[in-house]
Amino acid sequence: MHPSDEQLVGAYLERGDERAFRTLVERHQERIYGYLLGMVHDPGLADDLFQETFLRVVAALQKQRGSYTQQGRFLGWVMRIARNAALDHLRSRKKWQDVDAHADEEGTSFWDRLPDDAPAADEALHRHEQADLLTACIAKLPPEQREVLLLRHQSDMTFREIAELTNCSINTALGRMRYALLNLKKMMESSKKKDKAEAMTS
């Protein structure tokens, strides 16, 4: 039987059991790292943010243990710290703008009204494999659609948890997800058409 997250945290804090904490990190590394990489698109930077996230986690646990248990799942608590680390970086690079404060309940925000940039994306994406194409398309999504998609698919969070984490309503989170899927579909179809056209000419 696998120990719970709370048991592993307790083992690390009370007995200094490093293996317990390593187990905890490895258990959630894909969810957290996948989100961070999707947000910053730079593996080296995502590595740094991943490490920064867990350093903040340990500092917070030692300062006030149990703050995560009051909020539910350990992963949700860590994801909040990871998100703050990512946003701190993006804001420092001015790559994140909080322009969605007036989004309506249906999730139509500033980003949703942006013109579809799939054709421009195709120029850089058509040579990639299918998986790389998908990764590149995700990277081209508007930030808030991309974040919801990453939190749902990479971090395995529910829409309710995503709504709490990103401080929006569930409908807004669902709406962002819908637009993210629709935009991905458009981008991928456009890329496939481009590939076919190139194949025909060659």
């Binding site: 996948g34 867990f54 529910t158 991905l184």
Partner: protein
């Protein structure tokens, strides 16, 4: 035009966050909704099979080393405690301080022995003659009729240092034995009239007896 609620509902069904199967079936009866659901399902399928990414194993090793190093570092020095203010800052603190002082004062008065009821030793009258009570170490006040007598076995109060009183009593006893022939209240007698007195050598000094006889 599909109502937005329906579009959001199919997202919830797509991600298995809604259990209402009947509502889901009714949603799919709408052709537009069904078409969108199928399109989104294809994208979701690709996302579900998207390879997971994980950090380089070296990153986890580096993290654990950083945590270990941090744990070995001494804790940062504590900040100095701000200087303590002796005077209260707010009016209620003044009131509280005054009340505390009053309570302490009342408590001290309760603890201290009452001076008006200090026990003393009074000479016992025997056969109409004042006799000196045997000294037992308590303070003596023969002239206060209100003082009650105490027995020899009475305890001496801690604050009463009987040593000085005892010495004074012994001196009085010695003087009384030495002057037992003298009576208190006799008229003043010039020194030269006392037996064994020498005449004054200086003629300028007039004797008191002669001065009185003039």
């Amino acid at each position: 035009m599909i109502h937005m609620d329906k579009r959001l509902q199919i997202i919830a069904h797509l991600y298995a966050e809604s259990d209402d199967r009947a509502a889901f079936r009714s949603l799919l009866e709408d052709d537009d909704v069904r078409e969108e659901y199928q399109a989104l399902s294809e994208v979701k399928f690709q996302l579900d099979h998207h390879r997971p990414v994980r950090p380089d194993p070296v990153v986890v090793d580096r993290l654990m080393a950083a945590l270990k190093k941090r744990a070995e570092l001494p804790s940062p020095p504590r900040r100095d405690r701000p200087a303590m203010r002796l005077l209260p800052r707010r009016p209620w603190q003044w009131v509280a301080a005054a009340a505390a002082i009053a309570i302490v004062g009342v408590g001290i008065l309760q603890i201290l022995p009452d001076q008006k009821h200090t026990p003393g030793v009074v000479a016992k009258e025997t056969a109409g003659q004042r006799a000196v009570a045997p000294f037992v170490g308590d303070s003596v006040s023969e002239f206060d009729p209100n003082l009650r007598t105490v027995d020899a076995g009475a305890k001496t109060p801690a604050w009463d240092d009987a040593k000085d009183v005892r010495q004074l009593y012994r001196r009085i006893e010695r003087l009384r034995a030495h002057n037992k022939n003298l009576l208190w209240g006799e008229p003043v007698v010039p020194l030269e009239m006392l037996p064994g007195a020498q005449p004054l050598a200086d003629p300028a000094i007039q004797q008191a007896g002669e001065r009185r006889n003039r």
